[in-house]
Every structure is written in structure tokens, then in C-alpha cells.
Symmetry: C2
């Protein structure tokens, strides 16, 4: 019995290691990149000691996360870094837990408003999250102060940093979701990847093996790589990201890196699924400082997008919702012409000084900003100039001094224990990377990811299967989902073959 | 066409006013007390100016509360008093939003734990809320610090002040419920009662008319009062509290005040319903001070029940959950022998200085403490001595000085603008009052209130109906539920009679 697994990310490694446990001898894991892990990627900082996960960082839903439970059993390292959010506005400074505005309370009411629209009644059309929050403000304006109108929906936008999408691109119906317990930051996912990879004989994993074709031939599936090698097996488990799989259904992408030609073509359910799901663009920028010289009050800081008195006046003065929507769209268009800046959208800074004691911030950003910043690549000066106002606002509100540029060299006469000296910037490249083409599944207005999940769970055929964060409901979009889907497909194959686990 | 409404609380008044609008001429509202409003009762403070609602105080679920929407239309007064809770521990002082303990985050996880036990799987037996939180601590102890073990479940106990029950008496399955939007404090419910009562011709309402019998005779329902009067009508809507209605199904309560003898007896569904629902004992104590000389940071203060290092050690050291449960029960029993004090349970103080600018706290308490305190009645000195340590702890943590007793007279040489001088105490009497016998419906472990709600919605018969907070799902236990159920029953009668509203 033979199985080919395409992709050595969490889903592929879990599938392969499970099959190995079931006694399957002929396993081949084909990985395009020169490393395993996929969208789990731990790197080292400028000092050679600090570590960062550039891909997924957290164990989510820790009340029911089986990978997390396994990590606990084997002594894996993690930290519950849940914390109280600090919200920082460009003009006003800190606006979290403001006794007069109570923005967190309004934020919670907006979440309930969305819940009632989409889950307590039928037929509400899906719109962008921006439009939904605007409708909340319009309908409830008599119960809100001007400040609550200005700031509350900007606070609600922190959800952009869950989905990796700007609120104009994000499905209102999909925006809120239940957390099944706290989140624990993995320290680090590279170790989790290594642990699972070690359960598979080393020779099973082929790096730099980009797959270009999956073809059904008689009772076998034949897989062809870019460098012309052919592999043949009874089963094939495809774990490439949804963004890469999507290339297969478009003829015009035939020459794109990563594209797999399926013969026969991907089935009709899968093809249809692509109409109802998209891919998000979460990205990260790591700002590494010489020493910590700011407050450790909270590990979670969000700089809010700017907002104006004019906006509150528009909400108050509009005679209809359509009028309000039009004027907001016009304002947004005018702002877009002025060019991007760091106050156009919320940014989420993890204060690693509190969580793990290193003098760094891990910043999360969303599409389309991610594409813009990741395209700058390793131009640290340019990236710094873009985010400098947000960093300085954070320092100002966290008992720190303005940031000093020490990227090229630490300036003379500066005491880095008292002044935050920026030493290095690390920028992710998920949207630039042809093997990821973004971060993970996300829903745009009108999407319904369930269609695709069901189609991929059913598989292309009894012998060509799918695993990955995009193929599962519980844990969708996360590491645990990828892990569980790998387990699911391995168990499917084992069941077909009537196998029993070789060890307990 | 004639209708008798029993009870002039919100349900009865709404039913009667709606019937009047439908053109029903012969309406009689029989009220046992010498006032209308039932468990809505606005009183005046010691200075003749301050006002307090001794019964219900809030419009809950304001995203979908029809009574609230009506109040908005007619210019009714209210204030959104939602705020960030301040938690005060006897030893440790303020423990809200503590950056190290993050108790609110653990509290949220406990709520999710309950949700997963009771709503994401089947067959979890209902237990007390205390037992459920203990199980959470036991199962998740490896992820919690000692301080989190000590304090987090004490924070979660603020829910006792929603249900009016101690956590030992409270159904874990029923403890958490969804809020449909923010809460607005009514200013005051007495005015809402007056507004609705004014829609009914004054002669329809009979005060001091305690009903003792409801008898079906031919096509009429005959209602007998304690003073021997008889009223006969086509329909009868019974809005007495569930606690009073329960007297009807017990023979041994035949001489109890408020008991109604039904002929024929209450039907089997209603009788069975009483096995699966209970009544809570929310009570209030108003502490009136001379002047405000403490912080207005928040309107919501909770003093936590005391907890010890020993408890955390027990949770850590127990070899089984049964062992832990036994040792906690033993500690509780030992504590009970020492007698009650204000640190045995959480207490919820509304800081009216912030919400409405008066120098008073409105304190909420739960059964069985409510029975104990309400039995002291108007002995202000005794009530003050009981709560003094909690009041002093609040003052200490809210930038105030210890409370000075000015109940009999303001002591000489004290500046009431700098020292909090207590002038008056108002204690509710809901558990002592024979016409309420507690506060509102509540679930004990194993209860299922839905049985009773469905039985009462269906009515005793086509002509003997029920309304009140205990007869409805949406808004259950609240003023809006009572109001909606009154509307429902009036519309039922109107439909039977083919009536159309007389005005718009």
C-alpha cells in the first residue's frame, strides 16, 4: 500500500505520521519549499536568540483543541497570553476602558447586533463588515454619544486582524465567531512541526519537490513534479493551500508556480466551492528593539484607524442609510487618493516584552495592506518610515520615548535602556510567496465557506483526498484544523485498507 | 364581553390597556395590594427627592425590547448605565482588570466551559453553578495560577445577582444566558406603570381586592375576593407571580394569604411545571449618604466572597474531583456554622453617584441572604452593621473614607462633603411580602423552566389565561417579558372575540 502526501505543512505531516503509525510503509511527502512546516515558520531574530513565528502563532480554542492537548501531554511549550486590549487613537491616545465612552461595551453590542441580523432572523443579505457597523450606528445613533459613534466601530475593526481582511472586504455574517476557550501562544510552532515530522522516517520527505500533475491511471494515482520525477501510489492526500489549489481550476494560470494539473479535472463541487470562499492576507512585521523601555501593562495593543468629528456629524445628520453609506464611501475614496498610511486601518501589536520578555513587537496586518508592505520586502527603512507614527504613538502611550532608528547602526549617545532603539525589522512574505499566496481562508461578503469544506471533505475521488485548514469545520483556518484534517484523511485511508495502528 | 385581570403589575396593566384599545368595555383589574405596579415599585429617599426602584430597575436586551422601544417613542426617561465592573476582594482590594490575573478572561472561559458542557454536547447532568465552576478549576488547574484559582470563580459569582440565588442553589445549565444588547436603567418604572395605567379607565382597577377563588360556572368565570365580592366574566387573565400561583397546587397552603382556589384545579401540565422551576430571592438595600465623597469611576461595584490560599491548595492537591467537592462542601458547612457575614457571598453595589448623581448605593443581594436581611425589616442599625465591612471596603477602594453612621443624626464635627455619612437605609421586602414571596422565576439544578412556560402559555382553559414574567420565553423574568405576555393574552382574547383595535 502506498500513499503520496502533497505538502509538508501541519496537515501533511500529521497525515503522514498517522499513516506511518498505521503501518503504511510506502509514504512519500512531496514539499515544494526547501523546508517543512508550510505556513508554520519559526525564525530567529537579529541577536540570534529571539524567536518568532512568522506564520501561525497561537493554539486557539484551548478548551477543545486536540493538538493543544497533545502538546500538553508531551511537554510542549506555550504561554496563555490573553490580555486586556489597549486601544490607541492617533489624536486621543488611549481609549480602552474609558469610563465615559465604554467602547468595549458598544463593541459587544455590535457583535450582538450582527448575531441577531444573521443568526436570529432569516434572509438578511450579507454585506461588508463596514456596512453592517455603519447600519448599527445609523439605527442606534439616538442611544450613542458622538464619541461612541466615532470610536466604537474603529474598535470593532480589531476583527480584521483575525481574518486578515480590511472591513470593506470582510463578510459581516462571518466576522464574529465563538472562541472555545483562551488562546495560548506556541513557543514555538517550529518545535511542534519538528516533533511530528520526527515520527516519519526521514527518507519519506522530499523537499524542493513542486508537484505539477496529479493523474488517475488505472488503479493508481500518478504524481509528477516540476523536475520531471514521477511517483505512483494507491492514495494521494493533497494539502496545498486553497489559494494554490484554486490555480487548478483556471486555465489562464497554467504557467503559474505551484499549479497542479488534475486529470481528471477537480470535480464540480470543488470548482463551485471556489465561488463562495476567498483567501485572507494576514501578514506580520516584527520590530526588534535593543532593550525594553516601555510598559508591560498589556501584551495586546491596537492602534486604531483615524476617525473624525465629521463622521459623527454625518451619522447624526443623514436622512437615510443610503445617504450615509454614500457619503462614507465618498470619504473613503478621497482618503484612498491621498495614499496609504499607518492610520488607514487598525494594526495589532503583540508586546512580546510582556509575553516572553523580549524587546520586540510582533505586528499583525491585513489585506490589502499586507500586499503593499510585503512587496517592500526587506527594505527596512521604508517599512519603518511607514509604521513609525504608529510605533511612536504606542511608545507615547506606553511610557516610552519616541523610537530611534538603529537599523543601520545604533546612534551614538543614545542609552538603549531608556530610549527604544529599533535594531531590526522582519517582514513576512506570505502574499508574495507563490506557495502560499496569502495567509488562510477568509470570507468576503456573500461567501459560504461550508460549500468548499464539504466538497473537499468528500474528496476528488475515493483515492485523491484533501487536508488542510481549508477542508474542515472545527478549527477552520487554524493549525488545529489542519492537524485534525490530516488525521481525518489518514484514518480514512486506514479504514479503506482495514489497517489498525501499529502502536497504541 | 367581559374580562377580569388578576393583578395590576406590568402584565395585568398591559393586558387591560390592550383590551381597552380593542374596545372591550367591561374590564376589571383586581389588585391585592393598595397600589398598582406589583414588582415595579418606585419610592422616594430620605430627602424627599431621590428616587429608587425597589423592584425591577432596568430595560434589558435593548436591541429587541418592545417596551423599551415604546418608551423611546413616548419620551420615557432612562440611562444606559452599562459600565466596567470593579471587583473588590476583602484582603486584596481591587482585582478587576488585573494585568497578571486577568480574571475577566478566566470568567469568560468559564462561561464557554458551561456552554460546551450543556449546549455543545448531550447528557451532561445539571449541577449547581458552584459545582460546575469547581469542575472547571479541577480540570484546567494546570493552566491556572493559584490566584486565578482563588479569585476567578468568585468573580463568576456576580451571576448570582442576575438570578437572585446563591451559587449552591443555581442551575449551572441556566446560569449563563445571552444579552440582546445593553441594559438601560429606567428613570423610573413608576412612571412607566402610571403611563400604561392611564390608558385604562380608573374605575376598572380595584385595589385591596385579594382574589381567593376562580371558578368555572356555565359559560362564565366567577372570581371571588377575600372580602366576599364576586365578579363574573367571559375571560380571566391571571397575572399573580408564580410563587403565589404555586400555593394553589398545595393543599397545606389553603390558609395562606394570596392563595387562589381554582375550580376545577389547575391542569396537570401546570401542576407538573412546578416541579421544574423555582423562584429567586433577589433583594435590594439602598444606602443613602449625605453627599458623594467617593470616586465615580464606575457605576458597578462587586464585593467578592472571601477565599483563601487553602482553597487553591485543595484544588491543586485533590486526587479526584469527588475528593475536592467533598472538602469544599466541608469547608462551606464549617463556614455556615460561624454565622453569616457580608463576605460569604458577592454583593453588587450600583454607584448611583455616577449613574444619576445621587449620593447613594443600590445594593443587590441574593437568596438566602435576602430572606435573612429582609427579615430584619426596618432595623437600620442592624442592617448597617451587617454590611458595614463591605461598604468600608468599597470606600477604601473608591477614594473614600470609612463610613460614618448618621442614621439617627449626623455626628458633630464631621464634614459630609469629605466623609461619607450614611443617612438612611431602605430594605426591600419581596421575600416577606405575601403577594410576591420572592422576586422572580429562577432555575435550581435540574429545573427546566420551559415546561412551565409552555403550560401557562396554553392556559388553564380557553377562558382562564396567564400572563407575567413566568409565562414567556423572550424576556423571561423581566419587565419586558411581563409586558409582552400581557399583550399576548389580550390579543388572544381579541382574536377569540374577533375584535379590532378601536384606535390606530
Amino acid at each position: 500500500m502506498s500513499v503520496i502526501v502533497i505538502g509538508a505543512g501541519m496537515a501533511g505531516l500529521k497525515a503522514a505520521s498517522t499513516l506511518h503509525k498505521y503501518g503504511v510503509k510506502d509514504i512519500k511527502v512531496l514539499e515544494s519549499r526547501d523546508r517543512i512546516g508550510g505556513r508554520l515558520h519559526t525564525v530567529t531574530g537579529f541577536d540570534g536568540v529571539r524567536k518568532y513565528d512568522l506564520g501561525a502563532s497561537w493554539h486557539h480554542d484551548t478548551l477543545c483543541n486536540d493538538l493543544f492537548f497533545e502538546e500538553c501531554e508531551v511537554g510542549g511549550k506555550f504561554i496563555f497570553d490573553d490580555d486586556f486590549f489597549i486601544y490607541i487613537d492617533q489624536e486621543r491616545g488611549r481609549v480602552d476602558r474609558d469610563p465615559e465612552m465604554g467602547l468595549e461595551i458598544i463593541d459587544r453590542e455590535i457583535s450582538k447586533f450582527a448575531d441577531m441580523e444573521y443568526y436570529q432572523k432569516l434572509g438578511t443579505p450579507d454585506v461588508s463588515f463596514q456596512e453592517l457597523t455603519l447600519r448599527y450606528l445609523y439605527e442606534k445613533r439616538q442611544f450613542l454619544t458622538d464619541d461612541q459613534i466615532r470610536y466604537s466601530t474603529q474598535v470593532a475593526r480589531y476583527l480584521e486582524l483575525w481574518h486578515g481582511l480590511d472591513w470593506k472586504l470582510m463578510s459581516a455574517k462571518d466576522t464574529y465567531f465563538g472562541h472555545q476557550g483562551r488562546n495560548a501562544m506556541a513557543l514555538y510552532y517550529g518545535d511542534v512541526v519538528e516533533r511530528i515530522a520526527k515520527m516519519i522516517p526521514g527518507e519519506c520527505i522530499e523537499l524542493n519537490a513542486e508537484v505539477q500533475g496529479i493523474k488517475r491511471e488505472k488503479s493508481k494515482t500518478v504524481v509528477t513534479t516540476k523536475d520531471g520525477r514521477q511517483f505512483s501510489a494507491d492514495y494521494c492526500i493533497v494539502t496545498v493551500p486553497q489559494s494554490v489549489l484554486e490555480l487548478s481550476v483556471k486555465d489562464e494560470t497554467k504557467k503559474e508556480t505551484g499549479r497542479i494539473e488534475f486529470t481528471p479535472k477537480l470535480n464540480a463541487n470543488i470548482q463551485a466551492g471556489f465561488d463562495l470562499v476567498h483567501f485572507g492576507g494576514m501578514g506580520k512585521v516584527i520590530f526588534e528593539f535593543d532593550q525594553t523601555c516601555w510598559s508591560k501593562e498589556s501584551s495586546k495593543l491596537v492602534t486604531l484607524a483615524s476617525t473624525s468629528d465629521k463622521f459623527a456629524a454625518e451619522v447624526r445628520g443623514s436622512k437615510s442609510f443610503d445617504e450615509l453609506r454614500s457619503s462614507v464611501n465618498a470619504s473613503d475614496a478621497a482618503q484612498a487618493l491621498e495614499g496609504r498610511n499607518c492610520w488607514n486601518q487598525p494594526l495589532y501589536f503583540i508586546n512580546l516584552a510582556k509575553t516572553v520578555g523580549t524587546a520586540s513587537f510582533m505586528m499583525l496586518m491585513q489585506s490589502p495592506l499586507t500586499e503593499y508592505i510585503e512587496a517592500m520586502g526587506q527594505d527596512q527603512e521604508k517599512v519603518f518610515e511607514f509604521f513609525r507614527p504608529a510605533l511612536d504613538a504606542i511608545m507615547k502611550n506606553m511610557q516610552g520615548k519616541p523610537v530611534v532608528n538603529g537599523l543601520a547602526q545604533v546612534p551614538e549617545g543614545v542609552d538603549p535602556s531608556k530610549t527604544p532603539v529599533l535594531r531590526n525589522i522582519i517582514v513576512t512574505s506570505w502574499t508574495q510567496d507563490k506557495y502560499s499566496r496569502g495567509a488562510y481562508t477568509a470570507c468576503r461578503p456573500g461567501d459560504d465557506a461550508l460549500e468548499m469544506i464539504v466538497a473537499l471533505e468528500q474528496g476528488q475521488s475515493p483515492s485523491v483526498r484533501f487536508a488542510g485548514e481549508h477542508t474542515i469545520v472545527d478549527g477552520a483556518g487554524g493549525v488545529n484544523g489542519a492537524w485534525s484534517s490530516g488525521l481525518r484523511e489518514a484514518e480514512y485511508v486506514a479504514e479503506q485498507l482495514n489497517l489498525k495502528p501499529a502502536e497504541k
